[in-house]
Amino acid sequence: MLGTDAFLSLARAQAARLGLPHLAVALVPHPVGGIDPAIVRGKAETIVDEVRAALTRDPALRARLTRAPGAALVDAPDDLDAFQTWAMDARWSDGLPVLPSTAERVDRLLGALLARRREPIATLAPLDGAATLEAIAINAALAGALPEHLPVIVAAVRALAEPRFNLNAIQTTTHPCTPLVIVNGPITARLQISGGHNALGNGHRANAVIGRAVRLICQNVGGARPGLEDRATQGHPGKFSYCLAENEAESPWEPLHVERGFGAGTSCVTVCGSGGPTTSTTTPRRRPRRC
């Protein structure tokens, strides 16, 4: 496999995901795109011998990437401020303060699902991490989610893993996109997921913690660490949390979940790889004007 040095971490992750941690990766200096093809050909010359060697010598088996199991209990600082630094160093955090994922808090989140904690919900790209109910709840605990938020988060995880969603591309692209979680149906009122004022902004706990839990699951379970497997060039603020309800009552359109074949009274979660929000607005005129 050929690539540029800037993408080595992603190349290794992709090879490991395919069960090929020993696959030869030949690297040229970044970039390849956007430069004179003559320069690219010059870069190619520098790796010909390396590629030839990779094709004629049996590769040594590299050590498999190993990651701590989701259920591992680890020692962390008691002090909450020290815990933030520790969680950041462990790359568990998104940069904002996280709440400790103690067994007590995770068990409380799982509630009635506790006996099913090892149940796999999905496998998430790019590292094919196993999103068990427990792994989902641990990340939800870090994000500050409540037990009632868990079903929405679990539904979002199922949706992320749908092959047609192409999570691998969303997680590893240089584009800033991230999964936007759109919630429809009666659960939005019950959980106070906002589709109204500032729905994508601050001030709504359910929006904030559900979206944040989904992001932390993408990062920690899927294995998309910023700058390593997550290659987003600049990202966008929705990568901290990106969740809202559709304002069904005031929308002139059919609700999204109805459009997609579900009953109006069914609660649904839709995920959509989305860039940053853009406002589309019209300023009312005194008199309507024919276009």
Binding site: M1, L2, T4, A6, F7, L10, A11, Q14, R17, G19, L20, P21, V25, A26, V28, H30, P31, V32, G33, G34, V40, R41, A44, I47, V48, V51, R52, L55, T56, D58, L61, L65, T66, R67, A68, P69, G70, A71, A72, L73, V74, P77, W92, S101, T102, V106, L124, D128, G129, A130, A131, I138, A141, A169, T172, T173, T174, L216, N220, G223
Partner: protein
């Protein structure tokens, strides 16, 4: 305090790679362009250089339908070439 790790567990299977050849002579080289700008240039030049030093080597090209989309022609490629050069990411 003790906290639960949020990291996902990953499968630990390791697939064997094909047995390597002592020589590249007669090698059927495949090139799979991942659709990123200039990937065809980089991959094509490496393939040409390999073929130039290997008597009877041939080169065949494929292009993915899009850089973020899977290579749907992977079975055809596997049946047609001995080695495949491809690129990842940019």
């Amino acid at each position: 305090m003790r906290v639960l790790s949020p990291l996902g567990t990953t499968p630990d299977t390791v697939m064997p790679l094909s047995k390597r050849r002592a020589s590249l002579a007669g090698l059927r080289i495949g090139v799979l362009d991942n659709s990123k700008p200039n990937a065809d240039v980089l991959l094509g030049r490496v393939a040409e250089a390999l073929a130039a030093g290997a008597a009877g080597a041939t080169i065949r090209h494929w292009t993915k339908p899009g850089s973020s989309r899977p290579a749907t022609m992977i079975d055809e490629i596997a049946a047609s070439v001995d080695v495949l050069l491809t690129g990842t990411a940019d």
